[in-house]
Protein backbone atom coordinates (compact mmCIF):
# COMPACT_ATOMS: atom_id res chain seq x y z
CA UNK A 1 0.00 0.00 0.00
CA UNK A 2 1.03 3.63 -0.50
CA UNK A 3 1.55 5.63 2.68
CA UNK A 4 2.06 9.40 2.29
CA UNK A 5 4.35 10.88 4.96
CA UNK A 6 6.75 13.76 5.42
CA UNK A 7 10.09 12.05 5.84
CA UNK A 8 12.96 14.24 6.94
CA UNK A 9 11.24 17.37 5.67
CA UNK A 10 10.29 15.94 2.26
CA UNK A 11 6.85 14.70 1.27
CA UNK A 12 7.29 11.03 0.37
CA UNK A 13 5.15 8.02 -0.43
CA UNK A 14 6.23 4.90 1.44
CA UNK A 15 5.41 1.60 -0.24
CA UNK A 16 4.85 -0.94 2.53
CA UNK A 17 2.45 -3.46 4.05
CA UNK A 18 0.21 -1.95 6.72
CA UNK A 19 1.63 -4.25 9.42
CA UNK A 20 5.28 -4.00 8.34
CA UNK A 21 7.48 -2.46 10.99
CA UNK A 22 8.24 1.19 10.31
CA UNK A 23 11.88 0.51 11.18
CA UNK A 24 12.29 -1.84 8.20
CA UNK A 25 10.41 0.50 5.88
CA UNK A 26 12.55 3.50 6.82
CA UNK A 27 15.75 1.50 6.53
CA UNK A 28 14.70 0.47 3.01
CA UNK A 29 13.88 4.10 2.19
CA UNK A 30 17.36 5.44 2.67
CA UNK A 31 17.53 6.05 6.43
CA UNK A 32 20.53 3.97 7.57
CA UNK A 33 20.43 5.46 11.08
CA UNK A 34 17.22 3.50 11.81
CA UNK A 35 18.58 0.16 12.97
CA UNK A 36 17.23 -3.02 14.44
CA UNK A 37 18.16 -3.76 18.04
CA UNK A 38 16.07 -5.47 20.70
CA UNK A 39 12.82 -5.21 18.65
CA UNK A 40 10.98 -4.47 21.90
CA UNK A 41 11.29 -0.70 21.94
CA UNK A 42 13.81 -0.59 24.77
CA UNK A 43 17.33 -0.35 23.43
CA UNK A 44 16.56 2.90 21.58
CA UNK A 45 18.49 2.03 18.42
CA UNK A 46 15.42 2.33 16.16
CA UNK A 47 14.17 5.59 17.68
CA UNK A 48 12.75 8.24 15.36
CA UNK A 49 10.77 11.44 15.88
CA UNK A 50 7.14 10.80 15.00
CA UNK A 51 5.27 14.10 14.94
CA UNK A 52 8.14 15.57 16.96
CA UNK A 53 8.03 12.90 19.69
CA UNK A 54 10.52 10.05 20.07
CA UNK A 55 8.99 6.72 19.10
CA UNK A 56 10.27 3.16 18.74
CA UNK A 57 9.93 2.49 15.01
CA UNK A 58 10.32 -1.27 15.54
CA UNK A 59 6.98 -1.31 17.38
CA UNK A 60 5.03 0.84 14.95
CA UNK A 61 3.23 -0.63 11.94
CA UNK A 62 3.89 1.45 8.83
CA UNK A 63 0.15 1.72 8.16
CA UNK A 64 -0.56 4.05 11.06
CA UNK A 65 1.93 6.76 10.13
CA UNK A 66 -0.12 8.05 7.20
CA UNK A 67 0.28 11.85 6.94
CA UNK A 68 2.71 11.89 9.87
CA UNK A 69 5.93 13.86 10.12
CA UNK A 70 8.90 11.53 10.53
CA UNK A 71 12.42 12.67 11.34
CA UNK A 72 15.32 10.22 11.58
CA UNK A 73 18.75 10.80 13.06
CA UNK A 74 20.20 11.13 9.53
CA UNK A 75 18.33 14.43 9.17
CA UNK A 76 18.28 15.49 12.82
CA UNK A 77 22.09 15.74 12.86
CA UNK A 78 21.74 18.90 10.75
CA UNK A 79 19.72 20.74 13.40
CA UNK A 80 20.82 23.16 16.12
CA UNK A 81 19.18 20.98 18.80
CA UNK A 82 21.48 18.14 17.80
CA UNK A 83 24.53 20.39 18.13
CA UNK A 84 23.42 21.43 21.62
CA UNK A 85 22.83 17.83 22.68
CA UNK A 86 26.18 16.65 21.33
CA UNK A 87 27.96 19.58 22.98
CA UNK A 88 26.36 18.60 26.30
CA UNK A 89 27.30 14.95 25.82
CA UNK A 90 30.86 15.92 24.94
CA UNK A 91 31.14 18.07 28.07
CA UNK A 92 30.06 15.08 30.16
CA UNK A 93 32.67 12.90 28.45
CA UNK A 94 30.15 10.77 26.56
CA UNK A 95 31.39 9.04 23.44
CA UNK A 96 28.44 7.34 21.79
CA UNK A 97 29.11 3.95 20.28
CA UNK A 98 26.68 4.40 17.40
CA UNK A 99 24.36 1.55 18.36
CA UNK A 100 22.34 3.59 20.82
CA UNK A 101 22.79 7.11 19.44
CA UNK A 102 19.21 7.64 18.21
CA UNK A 103 17.63 6.58 21.52
CA UNK A 104 19.90 8.77 23.61
CA UNK A 105 19.81 11.82 21.34
CA UNK A 106 16.03 11.78 20.83
CA UNK A 107 15.36 11.14 24.53
CA UNK A 108 17.57 14.14 25.32
CA UNK A 109 15.62 16.14 22.70
CA UNK A 110 12.31 15.30 24.40
CA UNK A 111 13.73 16.39 27.76
CA UNK A 112 15.07 19.63 26.25
CA UNK A 113 11.57 20.41 24.99
CA UNK A 114 9.97 20.09 28.44
CA UNK A 115 8.22 23.34 29.37
CA UNK A 116 10.02 23.60 32.72
CA UNK A 117 13.42 22.49 33.91
CA UNK A 118 13.17 18.79 34.83
CA UNK A 119 14.68 17.48 38.06
CA UNK A 120 17.61 15.08 37.98
CA UNK A 121 15.21 12.31 39.01
CA UNK A 122 12.83 13.10 36.14
CA UNK A 123 15.70 12.96 33.65
CA UNK A 124 16.87 9.66 35.16
CA UNK A 125 13.34 8.22 34.86
CA UNK A 126 13.22 9.21 31.19
CA UNK A 127 16.47 7.51 30.20
CA UNK A 128 16.97 4.68 32.67
CA UNK A 129 15.49 2.04 30.37
CA UNK A 130 17.73 2.87 27.41
CA UNK A 131 20.55 0.55 26.45
CA UNK A 132 23.52 1.28 28.73
CA UNK A 133 25.95 -0.10 26.12
CA UNK A 134 28.48 2.76 26.09
CA UNK A 135 27.41 5.24 28.76
CA UNK A 136 26.48 4.77 32.38
CA UNK A 137 23.21 6.32 33.53
CA UNK A 138 24.74 9.03 35.75
CA UNK A 139 27.01 10.30 32.97
CA UNK A 140 24.13 10.31 30.50
CA UNK A 141 22.01 12.37 32.91
CA UNK A 142 24.95 14.79 33.35
CA UNK A 143 25.24 15.07 29.57
CA UNK A 144 21.55 15.95 29.25
CA UNK A 145 21.81 18.56 32.02
CA UNK A 146 24.80 20.14 30.24
CA UNK A 147 22.82 20.07 26.97
CA UNK A 148 19.93 21.91 28.65
CA UNK A 149 22.36 24.55 29.98
CA UNK A 150 24.02 24.99 26.58
CA UNK A 151 20.65 25.20 24.84
CA UNK A 152 19.36 27.79 27.34
CA UNK A 153 22.53 29.90 26.95
CA UNK A 154 22.22 29.88 23.16
CA UNK A 155 18.54 30.79 23.40
CA UNK A 156 19.35 33.77 25.63
CA UNK A 157 22.08 34.93 23.26
CA UNK A 158 19.74 34.50 20.28
Amino acid sequence: MKIPVTLNGTKTILDAHADESLMKVLHKNGCPSVKSGCSSGFCGTCTILLDDKPAASCKIPAGIVRNCDIVTLDYFTKTEEYSNIMAGFQKAGIKLCGYCTAGKVFSAYQILKMPKMPTRQEITDCVKALSPCCTDLETLVNGIIYAIQISNKRLKRG
Binding site: H17, F42, P54, I60, S107
Partner: protein, 265 residues
Protein backbone atom coordinates in the same frame (compact mmCIF):
# COMPACT_ATOMS: atom_id res chain seq x y z
CA UNK B 1 -0.10 -10.16 1.48
CA UNK B 2 -0.08 -8.01 4.58
CA UNK B 3 -2.87 -7.10 6.93
CA UNK B 4 -5.46 -4.46 6.10
CA UNK B 5 -5.64 -1.05 7.74
CA UNK B 6 -8.59 1.29 7.48
CA UNK B 7 -8.60 4.99 8.34
CA UNK B 8 -11.12 7.25 10.04
CA UNK B 9 -11.03 11.03 10.41
CA UNK B 10 -13.21 11.18 13.51
CA UNK B 11 -15.15 9.03 15.99
CA UNK B 12 -18.37 9.07 13.93
CA UNK B 13 -16.53 7.83 10.85
CA UNK B 14 -14.80 5.17 12.95
CA UNK B 15 -18.18 3.79 14.09
CA UNK B 16 -19.48 3.85 10.52
CA UNK B 17 -16.43 1.99 9.20
CA UNK B 18 -16.76 -0.63 11.95
CA UNK B 19 -20.38 -1.24 10.96
CA UNK B 20 -19.58 -1.49 7.27
CA UNK B 21 -16.56 -3.75 7.77
CA UNK B 22 -17.41 -6.63 10.09
CA UNK B 23 -14.39 -8.17 11.79
CA UNK B 24 -12.42 -4.92 11.89
CA UNK B 25 -10.71 -4.33 15.25
CA UNK B 26 -9.90 -0.98 16.75
CA UNK B 27 -6.31 -0.68 17.96
CA UNK B 28 -4.48 2.10 19.78
CA UNK B 29 -0.81 2.93 19.32
CA UNK B 30 -0.20 -0.57 17.90
CA UNK B 31 2.75 -1.29 20.18
CA UNK B 32 1.99 -4.98 19.93
CA UNK B 33 2.84 -5.07 16.24
CA UNK B 34 3.32 -8.85 16.32
CA UNK B 35 -0.30 -9.50 17.25
CA UNK B 36 -2.21 -7.08 15.04
CA UNK B 37 -5.60 -8.30 13.81
CA UNK B 38 -6.11 -9.12 10.12
CA UNK B 39 -8.18 -5.98 9.58
CA UNK B 40 -7.59 -3.05 11.90
CA UNK B 41 -8.23 0.64 12.36
CA UNK B 42 -6.11 2.76 14.69
CA UNK B 43 -7.23 5.62 16.93
CA UNK B 44 -3.88 7.27 16.08
CA UNK B 45 -4.55 10.76 14.75
CA UNK B 46 -8.31 10.81 15.58
CA UNK B 47 -8.45 14.08 17.48
CA UNK B 48 -11.89 13.69 19.08
CA UNK B 49 -10.71 10.44 20.71
CA UNK B 50 -7.62 12.08 22.21
CA UNK B 51 -9.25 14.64 24.46
CA UNK B 52 -8.38 15.33 28.09
CA UNK B 53 -10.76 17.50 30.09
CA UNK B 54 -10.24 18.23 33.75
CA UNK B 55 -13.16 18.77 36.09
CA UNK B 56 -13.34 19.31 39.81
CA UNK B 57 -13.97 15.69 40.76
CA UNK B 58 -12.90 13.71 37.69
CA UNK B 59 -11.04 13.83 34.41
CA UNK B 60 -12.45 12.71 31.09
CA UNK B 61 -9.89 11.07 28.84
CA UNK B 62 -10.29 9.91 25.25
CA UNK B 63 -9.10 6.36 24.54
CA UNK B 64 -6.63 7.62 21.92
CA UNK B 65 -4.79 9.73 24.52
CA UNK B 66 -1.21 8.55 24.80
CA UNK B 67 0.23 7.61 28.16
CA UNK B 68 2.75 10.48 27.81
CA UNK B 69 -0.05 12.99 27.27
CA UNK B 70 -1.78 11.68 30.37
CA UNK B 71 1.42 11.91 32.41
CA UNK B 72 1.94 15.44 31.15
CA UNK B 73 -1.16 16.53 33.11
CA UNK B 74 1.23 16.40 36.05
CA UNK B 75 1.58 14.56 39.32
CA UNK B 76 -0.54 17.08 41.24
CA UNK B 77 -3.52 16.77 38.88
CA UNK B 78 -3.72 12.97 38.67
CA UNK B 79 -4.62 10.43 41.35
CA UNK B 80 -1.22 9.34 42.81
CA UNK B 81 -1.94 5.66 42.15
CA UNK B 82 -2.58 6.36 38.45
CA UNK B 83 0.52 8.55 38.12
CA UNK B 84 2.65 5.81 39.66
CA UNK B 85 1.14 3.15 37.38
CA UNK B 86 1.65 5.27 34.25
CA UNK B 87 5.26 5.89 35.15
CA UNK B 88 6.05 2.22 35.46
CA UNK B 89 4.75 1.32 31.98
CA UNK B 90 7.58 0.58 29.53
CA UNK B 91 9.65 3.74 28.85
CA UNK B 92 8.87 7.28 27.66
CA UNK B 93 9.54 6.31 24.03
CA UNK B 94 6.85 3.61 24.12
CA UNK B 95 4.53 5.80 26.21
CA UNK B 96 4.61 8.40 23.41
CA UNK B 97 2.59 6.05 21.20
CA UNK B 98 0.84 3.65 23.63
CA UNK B 99 -2.71 4.77 24.45
CA UNK B 100 -4.91 4.44 27.52
CA UNK B 101 -7.61 2.81 25.38
CA UNK B 102 -5.16 0.19 24.17
CA UNK B 103 -4.10 -0.50 27.74
CA UNK B 104 -7.70 -0.95 28.92
CA UNK B 105 -9.03 -2.94 25.96
CA UNK B 106 -6.19 -5.44 25.68
CA UNK B 107 -7.77 -8.82 25.01
CA UNK B 108 -7.04 -11.90 27.16
CA UNK B 109 -4.58 -10.24 29.54
CA UNK B 110 -5.32 -7.05 31.47
CA UNK B 111 -2.47 -4.54 31.40
CA UNK B 112 -0.92 -2.23 33.99
CA UNK B 113 -3.58 0.49 34.25
CA UNK B 114 -6.50 -1.86 34.73
CA UNK B 115 -6.14 -2.49 38.49
CA UNK B 116 -5.59 1.19 39.43
CA UNK B 117 -8.56 2.21 37.28
CA UNK B 118 -10.69 -0.47 38.97
CA UNK B 119 -9.62 0.79 42.38
CA UNK B 120 -10.45 4.36 41.31
CA UNK B 121 -13.88 3.23 40.09
CA UNK B 122 -13.38 4.56 36.55
CA UNK B 123 -16.32 4.59 34.13
CA UNK B 124 -16.09 3.64 30.47
CA UNK B 125 -18.35 5.20 27.85
CA UNK B 126 -19.21 3.26 24.68
CA UNK B 127 -20.83 4.67 21.58
CA UNK B 128 -22.37 3.31 18.42
CA UNK B 129 -24.30 5.13 15.69
CA UNK B 130 -27.43 5.58 17.78
CA UNK B 131 -26.68 5.14 21.45
CA UNK B 132 -24.18 5.78 24.21
CA UNK B 133 -23.86 3.70 27.33
CA UNK B 134 -21.62 3.77 30.37
CA UNK B 135 -20.15 0.83 32.21
CA UNK B 136 -18.04 0.57 35.34
CA UNK B 137 -14.56 -0.70 34.48
CA UNK B 138 -15.00 -3.37 37.17
CA UNK B 139 -17.65 -5.02 34.96
CA UNK B 140 -15.81 -4.51 31.68
CA UNK B 141 -15.01 -7.62 29.65
CA UNK B 142 -14.79 -6.39 26.05
CA UNK B 143 -16.04 -3.55 23.88
CA UNK B 144 -19.52 -4.55 22.61
CA UNK B 145 -19.81 -5.40 18.91
CA UNK B 146 -20.40 -2.30 16.79
CA UNK B 147 -19.46 0.05 19.63
CA UNK B 148 -16.28 2.01 20.30
CA UNK B 149 -14.81 3.09 23.61
CA UNK B 150 -15.33 6.84 23.46
CA UNK B 151 -14.43 8.15 26.91
CA UNK B 152 -12.85 7.12 30.21
CA UNK B 153 -14.00 9.02 33.28
CA UNK B 154 -11.43 8.85 36.07
CA UNK B 155 -12.48 10.09 39.52
CA UNK B 156 -9.85 12.32 41.13
CA UNK B 157 -9.42 10.30 44.30
CA UNK B 158 -6.64 11.29 46.65
CA UNK B 159 -6.74 8.45 49.15
CA UNK B 160 -4.73 8.62 52.37
CA UNK B 161 -3.16 5.26 51.66
CA UNK B 162 -2.41 4.45 48.04
CA UNK B 163 -0.43 1.36 47.07
CA UNK B 164 0.39 0.25 43.53
CA UNK B 165 2.64 -2.63 42.56
CA UNK B 166 3.34 -4.23 39.22
CA UNK B 167 4.33 -7.88 39.35
CA UNK B 168 6.11 -9.98 36.75
CA UNK B 169 9.03 -9.17 34.49
CA UNK B 170 9.96 -5.55 33.96
CA UNK B 171 9.35 -3.92 30.55
CA UNK B 172 7.39 -6.80 29.03
CA UNK B 173 3.99 -8.42 29.36
CA UNK B 174 3.89 -12.14 30.00
CA UNK B 175 1.48 -14.51 31.72
CA UNK B 176 3.28 -13.57 34.97
CA UNK B 177 2.48 -9.86 34.58
CA UNK B 178 -0.20 -8.30 36.76
CA UNK B 179 -0.94 -5.14 38.70
CA UNK B 180 -2.18 -4.62 42.23
CA UNK B 181 -3.91 -1.52 43.60
CA UNK B 182 -5.06 -0.65 47.09
CA UNK B 183 -6.70 2.59 48.24
CA UNK B 184 -7.88 3.38 51.76
CA UNK B 185 -9.42 6.45 53.36
CA UNK B 186 -9.83 6.95 57.09
CA UNK B 187 -12.05 9.12 59.26
CA UNK B 188 -11.91 9.47 63.04
CA UNK B 189 -9.70 6.42 63.54
CA UNK B 190 -11.75 4.11 61.40
CA UNK B 191 -11.58 2.91 57.82
CA UNK B 192 -14.00 4.84 55.66
CA UNK B 193 -13.45 3.55 52.12
CA UNK B 194 -11.32 0.68 50.91
CA UNK B 195 -10.67 -0.36 47.32
CA UNK B 196 -8.58 -3.37 46.37
CA UNK B 197 -8.06 -4.58 42.82
CA UNK B 198 -5.84 -7.00 40.96
CA UNK B 199 -5.60 -7.42 37.20
CA UNK B 200 -3.53 -9.60 34.91
CA UNK B 201 -4.61 -12.96 33.46
CA UNK B 202 -7.92 -12.26 35.22
CA UNK B 203 -9.39 -9.42 37.26
CA UNK B 204 -10.19 -9.47 40.94
CA UNK B 205 -12.32 -6.99 42.82
CA UNK B 206 -14.69 -7.88 45.63
CA UNK B 207 -17.28 -5.43 46.95
CA UNK B 208 -18.07 -8.01 49.63
CA UNK B 209 -14.51 -7.92 50.91
CA UNK B 210 -14.34 -4.11 50.76
CA UNK B 211 -17.52 -3.88 52.85
CA UNK B 212 -16.07 -6.42 55.27
CA UNK B 213 -12.99 -4.22 55.69
CA UNK B 214 -14.66 -0.78 55.77
CA UNK B 215 -15.64 0.63 59.13
CA UNK B 216 -12.91 -1.17 61.10
CA UNK B 217 -11.21 0.76 63.87
CA UNK B 218 -7.63 1.86 63.35
CA UNK B 219 -4.93 0.91 63.95
CA UNK B 220 -5.67 -2.62 62.79
CA UNK B 221 -4.66 -5.34 65.22
CA UNK B 222 -2.85 -8.56 64.31
CA UNK B 223 -6.18 -10.34 64.73
CA UNK B 224 -7.82 -7.95 62.25
CA UNK B 225 -5.05 -8.59 59.74
CA UNK B 226 -5.43 -12.36 60.05
CA UNK B 227 -9.20 -12.05 59.53
CA UNK B 228 -8.72 -9.78 56.51
CA UNK B 229 -6.12 -12.11 55.02
CA UNK B 230 -8.49 -15.03 55.38
CA UNK B 231 -11.40 -13.11 53.88
CA UNK B 232 -9.45 -11.77 50.90
CA UNK B 233 -7.94 -15.21 50.24
CA UNK B 234 -11.41 -16.78 50.19
CA UNK B 235 -12.73 -14.18 47.73
CA UNK B 236 -9.60 -14.40 45.58
CA UNK B 237 -9.79 -18.21 45.38
CA UNK B 238 -13.42 -17.94 44.26
CA UNK B 239 -12.45 -15.61 41.41
CA UNK B 240 -9.25 -17.32 40.24
CA UNK B 241 -9.25 -20.77 38.78
CA UNK B 242 -6.08 -22.84 38.53
CA UNK B 243 -5.91 -22.33 34.78
CA UNK B 244 -5.76 -18.58 35.17
CA UNK B 245 -3.06 -18.07 37.70
CA UNK B 246 0.20 -19.58 38.87
CA UNK B 247 1.03 -20.34 42.51
CA UNK B 248 3.71 -17.65 42.40
CA UNK B 249 1.22 -14.99 41.29
CA UNK B 250 -1.31 -16.14 43.88
CA UNK B 251 1.35 -15.79 46.60
CA UNK B 252 2.40 -12.38 45.26
CA UNK B 253 -1.20 -11.22 45.58
CA UNK B 254 -1.47 -12.49 49.17
CA UNK B 255 1.84 -10.82 50.09
CA UNK B 256 0.74 -7.50 48.60
CA UNK B 257 -2.65 -7.68 50.31
CA UNK B 258 -0.98 -8.41 53.68
CA UNK B 259 1.54 -5.61 53.12
CA UNK B 260 -1.34 -3.20 52.42
CA UNK B 261 -3.22 -4.21 55.57
CA UNK B 262 -0.04 -3.85 57.64
CA UNK B 263 0.25 -0.23 56.57
CA UNK B 264 -2.90 0.38 58.61
CA UNK B 265 -1.50 -0.99 61.86
Amino acid sequence: MGKTILYAKNAAELIKILNNNPGTKVVGGCNRIESLPEKFISTHGIKDLSHISRHERYIDVGPGTTLSELLAIGQTHLPPILYEALNCIANPIIRNTATIGGNICSENHKLTLFAPLMALDAKLEFKNQTETHTENIRNFKAVPEGFILSNIRIPLVDAELSIFRRVGPEHTITQQSASFAFLADTEKNSLLNVHLAFAGPFTFHSKEFENFMSGRRLPLSQKDISQLEEAVAEQFQKAATDQMITDVMRQQFFNLARYSFEQLT
